[in-house]
């Protein structure tokens, strides 16, 4: 890992390691809200989504690590696509991107609000709505797909099975997890075992609120999600979910999640006080790690501030590679650990709100 890409509300900030210290090397899109950062590991292409207040959503990419940026036409919903009866769907926000597999060069997936999944077959030069998901009966029913903290549902997680690129999972707030095994031609909900405590029937098939979902690359049957209603893990490729929330501790509500792709038993979350308050627990920053598939969670605080922390860590603001973890918070703090969370150092406490962190 050579660079940390930090998407903030005031630009894309690039940190580089110089000698032993990490320093800011460059700021791209100065003053503009960077709402998505994605590094396509196949080609080391950097993608940046901008959420202009005035000019709408924009998407840019760089093939030379930010020396030059190019813009692409924005994905468009078909003219007859309705987000609900009588209301035309238009792009509100790009939430997530993923390459479509090493055996599918040039193909990309994109998750958006209001609930549209897009696919590109030409390296992002054009995107097309995946109609099979858009027309899924559950999406058309407003009682099953709905907004959470936003006006409309949004697709924030896309995970391609490393053993079969036609096998893709997505996660939607609010709707839940959906799976395709035929490259996107058909989709099925995969939410058995999840809890939707905010609904009259917490065990609905669709209507769940995963905050982030990740698939273990060395064992893709193991899938994790930080959910609005706790932490869940599957060992059977999302056919069922087990609640691994720490009922006696703080690893419960939150947004961010990282998993060890070589060890399906290990994961990290950054807890927050419930949806009504949304601050760090006891106003003290803490990362929780499990080494046993979520049976127990260990709080990690060494190097993290423990007084008057109002920080929240959003769903895409925690990234990891090997033993390195980096997270950024709503108050512009950026923290790094190089030993799997045992010790932390603050790289900056003066950034704008951090929405996205990626490693390159």
């Amino acid at each position: 890992m050579k660079k940390i890409l930090v998407g903030t509300t005031k630009g894309l900030v690039i940190f580089e390691q110089k000698a032993t210290a990490w320093k800011i090397a460059k700021v791209h899109f100065m003053g503009l809200p960077v709402s998505l950062v994605y590094v396509d590991e196949r080609t080391n292409t950097w993608w940046a989504g901008l959420a202009h207040r005035h000019w709408g959503q924009k998407l840019h990419y760089s093939t030379d690590e930010g020396q030059k940026w190019h813009s692409v036409p924005m994905p468009k919903y078909p003219k007859d696509a309705e987000v609900k009866l009588g209301k035309r769907a238009t792009l509100k926000k790009i939430w997530s991107m993923s390459h479509a597999g090493f055996d599918k060069p040039g193909e990309l997936w994109m998750g958006t609000e209001p609930g549209g999944l897009f696919h590109s077959a030409d390296n992002g030069q054009s995107f097309h709505l995946v109609e099979s998901l858009w027309n899924h009966p559950s999406r058309i029913d407003e009682n099953q797909w709905f907004g959470a903290g936003r006006d409309f549902p949004f697709i924030h997680s896309i995970a391609v099975n490393p053993r079969n690129s036609d096998h893709v999972y997505i996660a939607v707030s609010c709707a839940g997890v959906f799976e395709t095994k035929d490259g996107g031609k058909s989709w099925n909900p995969r939410n058995k075992g999840l809890i939707a405590a905010y609904l009259p029937n917490p065990h609905v098939e669709v209507g769940h609120d995963p905050h982030l979902m990740l698939v273990c690359q060395s064992n893709p049957d193991v899938i994790w999600q930080q959910n609005h209603c706790g932490i869940f893990r599957s060992e059977d490729a999302a056919l069922s979910w087990e609640n691994v929330t720490d009922s006696s501790g703080i690893a419960d509500y939150g947004f961010a999640l990282a998993i060890d792709h070589q060890n399906p038993e290990r994961a990290w979350v950054i807890p927050a006080v419930s949806d009504e308050v949304r601050v760090a627990h006891d106003l003290a920053l803490c990362v929780c790690r499990t080494e046993d598939g979520g049976k127990t969670w260990q709080p990690l605080r060494n190097g993290l501030p423990q007084e008057f922390c109002f920080d929240i860590v959003f769903r895409h603001a925690l990234a990891n590679k090997n033993e390195i973890l980096v997270f950024g918070s709503t108050t512009g703090n950026l923290f790094l650990s190089q030993d799997a969370g045992e010790h932390w150092q603050c790289l900056s406490s003066n950034l704008a709100r951090i929405d996205y962190v990626a490693l390159a």
Binding site: H52, R53, H54, W55, G56, S71, P73, M74, K76, Y77, K79, R88, T90, L91
Partner: protein, 91 residues
């Protein structure tokens, strides 16, 4: 021909954008079509994908805010002055 002027903020994204343009058209929507031809991608900054004016963009025709933000059907007369600004949102 109508005279078109822009907020300077757009120069950041379209460095070649002239401060003043003269374009034909009898409706605001026709002006948009000509703008897109001269500066591909520019109208995406001004209108939503359904063709309506973006929420935080204002267009003035001879000093008056246009009425039809949805279809941009406001009439343009010869020598009208059209100003394209961003709204003062956010204080």
């Amino acid at each position: 021909m109508a005279k078109i002027s822009f907020t300077s903020a757009l120069k950041r994204f379209f460095p070649d954008l002239k401060e003043e343009l003269h374009l034909p058209g009898t409706k605001v929507s026709e002006i948009m079509t000509h703008l897109e031809k001269q500066y591909p991608g520019l109208t995406d900054y001004l209108v939503d994908e359904d063709g309506s004016l973006r929420k935080h963009i204002n267009i003035f025709v001879d000093g008056q805010l246009i009425h039809d933000r949805q279809n941009l059907s406001d009439s343009i007369k010869e020598n009208d002055e059209i100003l394209i600004f961003q709204a003062l949102s956010g204080g």
